[in-house]
Symmetry: C2
Subunit: 477 residues, 2 copies
């Protein structure tokens, strides 16, 4: 049982009085996720300053049987950082672990503490004439520790991989309060299984990542951005294959938008213009990045696209002639989520299927959803190069939307069952958290979940690490 | 206790009479590693045909308490696939699991069973106009299951990563005999920790990988290969950084050779010629790969090197004008191990340090080794782009070599202690097996080893999965 008075007093001794928040007003920011979808309660919010303090807080919580809810920038989309309503938890916020411990340009690595903001990591890389390619909408407020705990994705995964693939080593405070120093910066280390992958993507349920060695890359000096129209998603998959065949990993973005999504962008952002005429059913943003200069890269992209225009594989295409024009093309993609939001609430899905099955998924879902849910309007866009689609569903008449939203669980199951049939994932980049926890047993092999539960019990026998997240409720098991 | 008669009879029922070998002559090939360094005994060798049979064999072994030694192509360098001398073990060879289950060019994936040879996987990728980039000397006889169990490296890790990074999903027979189907072919799947990494690189101690989904890549159509001479290793690290800055991931190989190594190549392979005059202390093989054609790639590489010749960063350089010339440059690198072998036995080290610390490692080891071991001659070459050096030591007088070899343990410790001081790895790509098992506790954090042991006990409570490999003897723990 928790003994609040003693526990809080000892907590204040460890992290210092000003860094233990108990006033409801002070705590509020930490108890609700940024979209306001989840709200919880906590006995306190602790903000330790370094790894040793984190370890001491964890030991204290274990002794006092206080559940720990780890938090970074609190920008997650699945309620992974919000405590439950019991008020027993401690929110353990890592934002004060903010030291950039090392930048090693010749090794293409950077060692950052968990609380460093993603933009700060990007800036430290840039200052060393390198690129840290993780990039996502919340980069100004999310932390690298949160990015790793949730294995964040974003717009450059096609070329550089997600957070998991950008990490060479980690420092982890285990639920026992012990600190594992796995901060290796090696491209090759064949001394057994790679344990960091158990903690990356664990959403704070198995341990707390307090620092990490991250991969850096050469900073591209040139880019070429094209906007194309296509007859169907198969043409997008084919074009991606051809572009990768010609340009290899210089293909750094391949983003697909359906006509209904683009129409919403023009409706809610009247300043945006369609770069190409013809109201084609599908549009694609394709970007190359390289060393060298923009002109040469635009030339080879132009040659590549000209051949495909001639063959009819591409309906129409334009290449940005300046970085300002490129920025405007990107704005079409980047305003899509906000345009959808302004149109009204929709049922969202962040799913992935093998790239080769994107066309089948889109065709089958477009046929079956309106049949099962009459009037359903589908808004599909996303990182087609990763097989990752943001697949959102609302009613074509705003007035009927509440009735559709009331059937959200059925819509989810309809979409996820098709994703599963195509060997896909019900969470491509946002994670599980509270949002998808109870759906996991339907889609993850039972044996894999059983293995995860075994590791969880072994590492965290008291079940105090971010309870209620990721792992389906033990009572449902 | 094992009951051989019953056990063998049941084993024959499961995999069929012809696929259980007990005759010493039939078993011999499986009981000694290919270099003849390790020999063991076994009660039988079983060759199951598919995953279900593997699972049945594992269950049988667990019931009968028979240790299992998994084996692929038996090409390992650390004794990981050789049983001990007790004769109690079953060698479980996966060579008959040879189905190429699927090739999905549009998804850039291939699903192969564990017993497929690496060359067969490469060929299946080529047939689909794709590249499977894992490439190493044993590729004609090693299996993809063995490559994954040992996280194999090779000459293209710089660009494409090692076996771990080339794998998207696995099918694993657990020590319980249960089969985990983790055969996902997704670039994004954020539904929890990624358990495949526990089995990849576990050397068969935690489970048996029976099939895998592998990443494919566009097949480069152009390459440009240069041979350079350099004043010192720092010049090599600087050049690599500059080349990656200009060419990004088109830099696919960066291999360093010291003058003593090159001299041995010329001594034992008189047909080989030095591509450049001047007997420079260090030589570097640099290769670019790309779509497009060879000529254009050679031109940009030529421009890049011309500027560095002018500045003095590079002493001399030549670019292969044909694929035949490129092949001859590669032959200098590829014959280095054989040239060393012909010169006599040496004490070998397969180590890695951060790329930025390669110069420091080479300088300090070159200074301290001959001091500690008078007459020591150092033969260093390797994948400098990964920080991975093959760092071999022998005596400069052949007659005194036996005396140096007698001090192998001291030489190892000297080299490994320096590697550890520089945050390196004592096994960059060859693994641990029997060879380095007892050195692991000195160089791997105790807490990491303790975690590994916990997972081992949980997955394999009877300790029957490849006992004596990777994990330091429990009595030493």
């Amino acid at each position: 049982m928790s003994q609040p008075a003693t526990f809080l007093a000892r907590l204040r001794e460890v992290v210092g009085m000003p860094h233990v928040l108990t006033d409801p007003g002070d705590m509020a920011l930490y108890l609700t996720d940024w979209r306001g979808r989840y709200t919880g309660r906590a006995q306190a919010v602790a903000l330790p300053a370094n790894t040793a303090e984190v370890a001491a807080v964890v030991r204290l919580c274990m002794e006092a049987r206080v559940p720990i809810v780890p938090q970074g920038g609190n920008t997650g989309l699945v309620g992974g950082g919000t405590p439950d309503g019991s008020g027993t938890a401690l929110v353990l916020c890592l934002k004060r672990l903010r030291t950039m411990r090392a930048v090693d340009a010749a090794n293409n690595t950077l060692t950052a503490e968990a609380g460093c903001l993603l933009v700060e990591v990007q800036a430290a890389a840039t200052a060393a004439d390198r690129l840290f390619p993780l990039s996502l909408a919340a980069e100004g407020s999310c932390t690298i520790g949160g990015n790793l705990a949730t294995n964040a994705g974003g717009v450059q995964v096609l070329r550089y991989g997600n957070a998991r693939e950008l990490c060479l080593g980690v420092e982890v405070v285990l639920p026992s309060g012990e600190v594992w120093n796995g901060l290796r910066g090696l491209r090759k280390d064949n001394t057994g299984p790679d344990l960091k992958h158990l903690f990356i993507g664990s959403e704070g349920t198995l341990g707390l990542i307090t620092a990490a060695v991250l991969k850096l890359f050469p900073r591209p000096t040139a880019s070429a951005t094209a906007w194309l129209t296509l007859a169907d998603p198969q043409a997008a998959v084919d074009l991606l294959g051809a572009a990768q065949g010609r340009f290899g990993s210089r293909v750094t973005a391949c983003e697909l938008l359906s006509r209904p999504v683009l129409d919403l962008v023009f409706k809610h952002f009247p300043a945006q213009r369609d770069p190409l005429p013809g109201n084609a059913p599908w549009s694609l943003l394709l970007e190359l990045s390289d060393g060298g200069d923009d002109g040469a890269l635009r030339d080879v992209l132009g040659e590549f696209l000209a051949a495909r225009l001639e063959s009819g594989a591409v309906l129409d295409a334009t290449i940005a002639a300046s970085s300002e024009q490129a920025r405007r093309l990107w704005a079409l993609r980047e305003t899509a989520p906000e345009a959808e939001k302004r149109e009204g609430i929709s049922i969202k899905h962040d799913v992935a299927v093998p790239v080769s099955r994107v066309p089948e998924f889109l065709a089958r879902a477009a046929a079956s959803l309106p049949q099962a849910f009459p009037g359903a309007r589908i808004l599909a866009f996303g990182h087609v190069g990763d097989g990752n689609l943001h697949y959102n569903v609302c009613h074509s008449n705003a007035a009927d939307n509440p009735a559709l939203l009331a059937r959200q669980a059925e819509v989810n199951r309809h979409v996820y069952d098709l994703v599963a049939e195509l060997n896909g994932s019900i969470s491509a980049e946002h994670g599980i958290g509270q949002l998808k926890r109870d759906q996991l047993p339907r889609y993850k092999p039972a044996l894999e979940l059983a293995l995860l539960r075994q590791f969880k019990r072994q590492l965290d026998p008291l079940g105090l690490m971010n309870p209620g997240k990721l792992f389906p409720d033990p009572r449902d098991a």
